[in-house]
């Protein structure tokens, strides 16, 4: 437990750096929020007025100080585009992003890990070639392209799935909020119509993210399994007559999972980035599309809030990966 706190404390400098860098970036980026919001016909006077109201006429150190003080009070500032506190916006939109990212990750793991294992066990056989093709396709196709392709095929041509317009179709209303995850909330409330609608909307964007995340996971699983299958202790297990399943799952896979878990952490952070584009393509009301809209409008506070949220998520993610690795690997437990 002390180790956990120590790790958390160790990530504080990184968070501080993120705060400084995003603050500076939003100030030096071209575009001026006050001009944007005053509108094309505004006079220089009204622009100056808005500037003063937003505190943008102050010197940078003072603006920074005010930002830090507000941050410590849990205030991420106001969004000029939505007129809401950034914290409220983020809290409302984070579950949408989280639900999408996690579903994408589950899709990817569900396909990539068995595929990687099969490719390693039957190296050079058909399944290995299938794995190689999928991995190559996964890394070479950008997410917005796969996203649009899937929409074209499954919505436009085949009409199997609903239009890519957010988390629910127009006629469904969101379930009562418990977790913010529609699939979970709808299940809790027993609203299965809503659940089906949410699931139908989720399939394509989750598949898009899943295809993107599949490649690195399958590749690492295959490589890691191959390395472990060649290890001496696998030869011992075989020489002891243990069954194929025991050798491959209990002996090989558990050892091979260690690098896969580490890769999952990286893949998850790639997904957080890829989310921004996928949410845009599928009109998904998550924090990624929120940040893009704010950025285009030179709306600094939401962008800062978004980057900070991502940084915190990233720290928590790495912490989780660490804990899982320690649970799996006795050597890591003793090492610290």
């Amino acid at each position: 437990m002390a180790g956990l706190l120590l790790r958390l404390a160790g990530s504080l400098p990184a968070l501080a750096a993120v705060i400084v860098v995003t603050f500076v970036l939003t100030r030096v980026l071209p575009g001026d929020a006050a001009t944007y919001f005053a509108g094309p016909t505004a006079s220089a006077e009204s622009i100056a007025q808005i500037k003063a109201m937003l505190g943008l006429d102050r010197p940078l150190p003072e603006q920074f100080w005010n930002y830090i003080v507000a941050l410590f009070h849990g205030n991420l500032g106001m969004s000029l585009t939505t007129g809401q506190p950034v914290l409220t916006d983020l809290a409302a939109r984070l579950p949408a992003s989280a639900e999408l990212t996690l579903c994408g990750l589950f899709v990817a793991i569900g396909i990539a890990v068995p595929l990687g294992i099969a490719a390693a066990v039957r190296q050079g056989k058909m399944v290995d070639h299938v794995c190689r093709v999928l991995v190559t396709a996964g890394v070479s196709l950008p997410v917005f392209f796969t996203g649009l392709l899937l929409v074209y095929v499954f919505y436009f041509r085949l009409s199997w799935l609903p239009a890519p317009l957010g988390r629910l179709d127009a006629f469904a209303s969101p379930p009562p909020t418990v977790t913010g995850f529609f699939l979970i909330d709808a299940a809790i409330a027993g609203e299965w119509e809503t659940w089906r609608s949410a699931a139908a909307q989720l399939i394509l964007p989750a598949a898009t993210l899943g295809l993107f995340a599949l490649a690195p996971i399958a590749r690492i699983t295959r490589a890691s399994m191959l390395a472990v299958l060649g290890a001496e202790f696998i030869r011992t297990a075989r020489a002891s007559g243990l069954s194929g399943v025991t050798v491959i799952i209990t002996y090989a896979l558990r050892n091979a999972l260690l690098p896969v878990i580490t890769t999952l952490g990286m893949v998850f952070s790639f997904l957080l980035g890829a989310n921004v584009l996928v949410e845009k393509v599928f009109a998904w009301p998550g924090i990624g599309s929120y940040a893009v809209e704010a950025l285009i409008a030179s709306d600094g506070a939401p962008v800062q809030g978004f980057v900070l949220t991502m940084a915190i998520l990233y720290v928590l993610l790495n912490l989780t990966i660490d804990m899982v690795n320690r649970a799996l690997d006795p050597r890591a437990r003793r090492g610290s």
């Binding site: 290890a231 001496e232 011992t236 297990a237 020489a239 002891s240 243990l242 002996y251 050892n255």
Partner: protein
């Protein structure tokens, strides 16, 4: 040769080839030997002579590139070389145990040692999870691990090399096999630990009438621990004799070379000799019938004739046209 009934294992004409980019390697060529009940046969030879390949071929553990190209291995009524993968899997661990060199790497690094032994017991002794766990502790006690109940929960990295080798032995003999193959079981262990590990194997062999194949490059170890020695060179067995006889009257020039290259307590460094040359390239098409011929100082014109076994005295076999 001994009467067939007394043999646990009779290998006859075992040949193994490996496919490589540079051509086919005839790694083993007509290897024959027997192991009697309770007997320890030492397979001795320099690195690359085919000792380990012999063991892997018998257990069906060769790499994908390796293939048994001929011979038979009669083991308690079964031919190991013709057994299906299923049959082999039920023979391995249950009726034939194997010990590997480098015990730490040969154990699963993230599984407690007790569970690794229990895995074998559950597979071969038909024990349930609880019974297997208790039996695993008992096996650890048998190989002399102190405080076995607590140690059963330890991981290989928490144990010394000698302790790991004891665990390895416990895994190999957990199901009381009729044959134990020990592949360089003492490499990397200090001398005291070596002796302890060998004592444990000898005791188990004596108790259960288990035959042992001791694979080693250490002639001194073989001399001390085996009843018979088979000397391997480049995939051939060149001499096979009772241990005392072989040490007293080595007949094959390679055996004599090996003996001269083995340090003794009484001798000085100047008394040590090296065997000239190296193993021949087994990919060559023009490999001479006797693969030692090109290193041999006793070579005579007759050496180019096909190699044949000759029993010089009862139980002492040599594959040489001009034995000493």
């Amino acid at each position: 040769m001994m009467a067939a009934g007394a043999n646990v294992l009779a290998v006859d004409g075992l040949s193994v080839a490996f496919r490589t980019r540079a051509g086919t390697v005839a790694a083993l060529d007509r290897v024959s030997f027997t192991v009697g009940k309770g007997e320890t046969l030492a397979l001795v030879g320099e690195s690359g002579s085919g000792k380990s390949v012999t063991a892997y071929a018998l257990l069906g553990l060769l790499d994908a590139a390796g293939r048994v190209t001929g011979g038979s291995a009669s083991f308690e009524g079964d031919d190991l070389l013709r057994a299906s993968p299923r049959e082999l899997a039920s023979i391995r661990g249950r009726r034939v145990g194997m010990i590997f060199q480098n015990p730490r790497a040969a154990l699963n690094p993230i599984r407690p040692i007790g569970r690794q032994i229990a895995d074998v017991l559950r597979r071969h002794a038909g024990l349930g999870p609880r019974a297997a766990k208790a039996a695993a502790v008992e096996k650890l006690r048998e190989v002399g691990i102190p405080d076995p109940a607590r140690r059963a929960a330890a991981y290989p990295f928490e144990l010394s090399g000698g302790m790991c080798q004891r665990v390895m032995i416990a895994i190999a003999v957990a199901a009381s096999p009729a044959l134990l193959i020990a592949d360089e079981p003492t490499t990397g262990l200090d001398v005291t630990t070596q002796a302890v590990a060998m004592d444990i194997m000898a005791r188990l062999a004596a108790e259960n009438g288990m035959g042992t194949i001791l694979i080693t490059h250490d002639l001194a170890l073989a001399a001390e621990r085996s009843q018979r020695i088979a000397v391997m060179h480049a995939g051939h067995i060149v001499e096979d004799a009772p241990t005392a006889e072989l040490l007293a009257h080595p007949r094959h020039p390679y055996t004599r070379g090996l003996l001269a290259a083995t340090p003794t307590a009484a001798g000085t460094l100047d008394d040590l000799h090296s065997v000239p040359g190296g193993l021949p390239d087994l990919r060559r098409a023009d490999l001479p019938p006797c693969r030692y011929a090109e290193r041999c100082e006793r070579r005579v014109p007759g050496c180019d004739d096909p190699l044949a076994w000759r029993e010089l005295t009862p139980g002492h076999l040599v594959a040489c046209w001009n034995p000493a």
